[in-house]
């Protein structure tokens, strides 16, 4: 079972976000990039499959600050191959269409059985990465997956639907799966192991193809949420308050 995990680094929301002077994008001066949270699950699921079925796991990332840390941590967890696409950075305005095109080129060469991606990211403006990538590499896609069991060249996946419904479905391999949750929480890897990986693991640096962002949206303006009208506190004794609420419900019900 050969698995490829194309990852996405996203702005860390622990630090306050700022809009740049152009008013159409985030100011990257203070931005810290971290691995998308559900990508941690995609990676964990890949490692669990490798451990139960043998095979290899490859991680692909674009370039940028924090990428080497993510790659070495992946290696320390058991990832076999680290691929970094150089010449394109998460800090610049790469949309998911462009990212999917970059990853499609590498995925075609690697010919994996499965491609596992995080099902979504908080900065997906043009759809999530998985379906776009599946389209470009001509593979089926199932998203919101929380369980994967390969059976006779196919893959039985558990897909979560809203409202507490879960479906089990078989997917032809190779396939792209958007992982919602791994079957066990992402593992901890000790810093000493990561530091060891920094010394021993090799990062395969490949030049990224030309940037092609077609298909994505044009951002006209980006701004922080504006304060809505403040709530009005209804004061008075119980009867007054209850009466006012009844009046309000009547008024709002008509509109």
């Amino acid at each position: 079972m050969n698995i490829v995990v194309p990852v996405k680094l996203v702005p860390d929301l622990v630090e306050e976000l700022e809009i740049d002077d152009g008013g159409t994008a985030l100011d990257t001066t203070w931005l810290r990039f971290i691995l998308n949270e559900v990508d941690e699950h995609a990676l964990e699921q890949a490692l669990l499959l490798k451990e139960s079925l043998s095979g290899t796991v490859s991680v692909i990332s674009l370039d940028g600050e924090g990428v080497d840390d993510v790659l070495f941590a992946s290696s320390a967890k058991g990832v076999d191959r680290l691929i970094k696409l150089t010449g394109v950075d998460y800090g610049v305005n790469v949309n998911n269409h462009a990212m999917a095109r970059f990853y499609a080129t590498t995925v075609r060469i690697l010919e994996p059985d499965l491609v596992l991606v995080g099902v979504q990211a908080h900065n997906d403006l043009d759809g999530s990465l998985g379906p776009l990538l599946a389209e470009y590499v001509g593979m089926p896609y199932v998203g919101y997956v929380s369980g994967i069991a390969p059976i006779n060249g196919r893959c039985r996946v558990r897909k979560e639907y809203p409202g507490g419904l879960i479906a089990e479905m078989d997917v032809e391999m190779p396939a792209v799966l958007g992982v919602q949750a791994a079957e066990s929480p992402p593992r901890y890897v000790a810093i000493s192991r990561i530091r060891q990986a920094m010394k021993t693991a090799a990062v395969d640096e490949q030049a990224a193809p030309d940037l092609d962002t077609t298909g994505g949206p044009m951002v006209d303006s980006m701004f922080k949420p504006e304060t809505a009208e403040r709530a009005t506190m209804i004061t008075g004794d119980e009867d007054e308050v209850a009466g006012r609420i009844v009046d309000l419900l009547r008024e709002l019900g008509k509109a």
């Binding site: 901890y188 890897v189 000493s192 530091r195």
Partner: protein
């Protein structure tokens, strides 16, 4: 000794032998061979009776070549690294720094750790603080202090004292109040000090004692780079854990500066501080000796000297005091294992201390470690008859006594 023949089975697994050898690399680690199996360590351990393998049984399992059994259970995470075992051991085995910490490290290397601890360690790695707070806001606690708390990257001049504030004293709401109090005391004494602000990282000592040696080294190196940028004569710490790290652990990494806990620092300036303490605080005050000021570093008098310098304070001693003080429960990663510990124990160590404070009819429980305030304040809400007990950092009590001078 009898250890050798039984090792063979475990050696096949490649574990017990290498582990026991690694214990001897710790300072005085060879003493582990002199274990008498007297079980004093397990008796004094505040959680010993709940552990499948308390310290003396860990050693006997190791001698029997069965250490993998110790690694097969999770009760090691009950250890609060409080030094009670190491202090009572008649063979003077470095149980806390050696056996317990090394065993946690082995657990951690296998990836087998409680989820809440994992989050704190990942936060420490990513943000330089275990709470997962934004590094850029590390000095926000100081914003309203007048005169302003100097941040070294802004003032660009040498200072006498680098104040290493620490995680909980920078971010935790109660810790921040105590930091504000300490800043006011330092200002009143005209101390020439500065803080690192966003350049400061967690001291890493509790992460080390939770078994994350690599993370400890990484954090120490980051702090060393920040120290190296500025000129100062000594380091002052709010947190006894930071004091312990800087005094006893950083030097082995080539990071060596004179360091004082703030209680030592202020006690050394009592001749100037005492005349300023004019407002009376008529209260019975019990002092909780923090593990890493007391047992680990032998500092018992300085905090008491500060407390008795406050007019009106009547210092009372709890049942467990000085060397026998009981951990607040926050050490050795305990700050990040509350859920796990509650599941195992169904009580909190902080509740024992709050009960002891009530037993001696204390009005105030004085503390001098940022882990303790939230832990003891929580316990005053659950221990019967503890609602009146006020938990205060020594720096807060000093400011209360200073306050009328404005």
């Amino acid at each position: 000794m009898m250890a050798a023949p039984a090792m063979e089975a475990a050696d096949a697994a490649g574990f017990t032998d290498s582990f026991s050898l690694s214990l001897e690399e710790v300072e005085e680690g060879r003493r582990i061979r002199a274990c008498l199996q007297c079980a004093a360590c397990s008796g004094i351990c505040p959680f010993g009776y709940l552990m499948d393998f308390p310290p003396h049984k860990m050693i006997s399992a190791m001698r029997a070549g069965m250490f993998e059994k110790v690694m097969g259970v999770d009760s090691l995470w009950l250890c609060v690294s409080c030094y009670a075992c190491a202090q009572i051991c008649p063979a003077q085995i470095p149980l806390t720094n050696g056996l317990m910490t090394r065993a946690k490290e082995e657990m951690l290397l296998t990836g087998s750790i409680p989820a809440e601890l994992q989050e704190a360690l990942e936060n420490s790695q990513r943000y330089g603080n275990a709470l997962g707070e934004p590094p850029r806001r590390r000095a926000d606690w100081a914003m309203d202090i007048e005169p302003a708390v100097p941040i070294l990257s802004k003032i660009k001049r040498p200072v006498e004292v680098l104040w290493f504030v620490g995680d909980y004293a920078s971010y935790h709401p109660r810790g921040r109040q105590a930091s504000q109090a300490l800043a006011r005391v330092l200002n009143r004494l005209d101390v020439d000090y500065g803080i690192l602000g966003p350049e400061e990282n967690s001291d890493g000592d509790s992460q080390r004692l939770a078994g994350e040696t690599g993370l400890f080294e990484m954090l120490a190196e980051k702090n060393a780079r920040a120290f190296g940028k500025y000129e100062f004569e000594e380091i002052l710490t709010t947190d006894p854990h930071a004091f312990n790290a800087l005094k006893n652990e950083y030097p082995a990494l080539g990071i060596s500066y004179p360091v004082a806990h703030y209680s030592q620092f202020l006690a050394g300036r009592l001749d100037r501080l005492q005349p300023l303490l004019t407002r009376e605080i008529p209260a019975r005050v019990a002092f909780h000796d923090p593990c890493y000021l007391g047992r680990a570093n032998g500092i018992y008098e300085d905090p008491r000297r500060l407390l008795t310098a406050v007019p009106g304070v009547e210092l009372v001693e709890m049942l467990h005091t000085r060397e026998t003080s009981i951990c607040c429960g926050g050490g050795g990663g305990g700050m990040w294992l509350d859920g796990f510990r509650w599941e195992k124990a169904h009580f909190r160590l902080s509740e024992i201390r709050v009960q002891e404070a009530i037993d001696v009819r204390a009005d105030i429980l004085a503390v001098t470690c940022p882990y303790e305030m939230p832990r003891f304040e929580d316990a005053t809400k659950t221990v019967t008859g503890a609602k009146h007990l006020v938990v205060k950092d020594i720096a807060e009590l000093l400011v209360d006594s200073l306050i009328e001078q404005g």
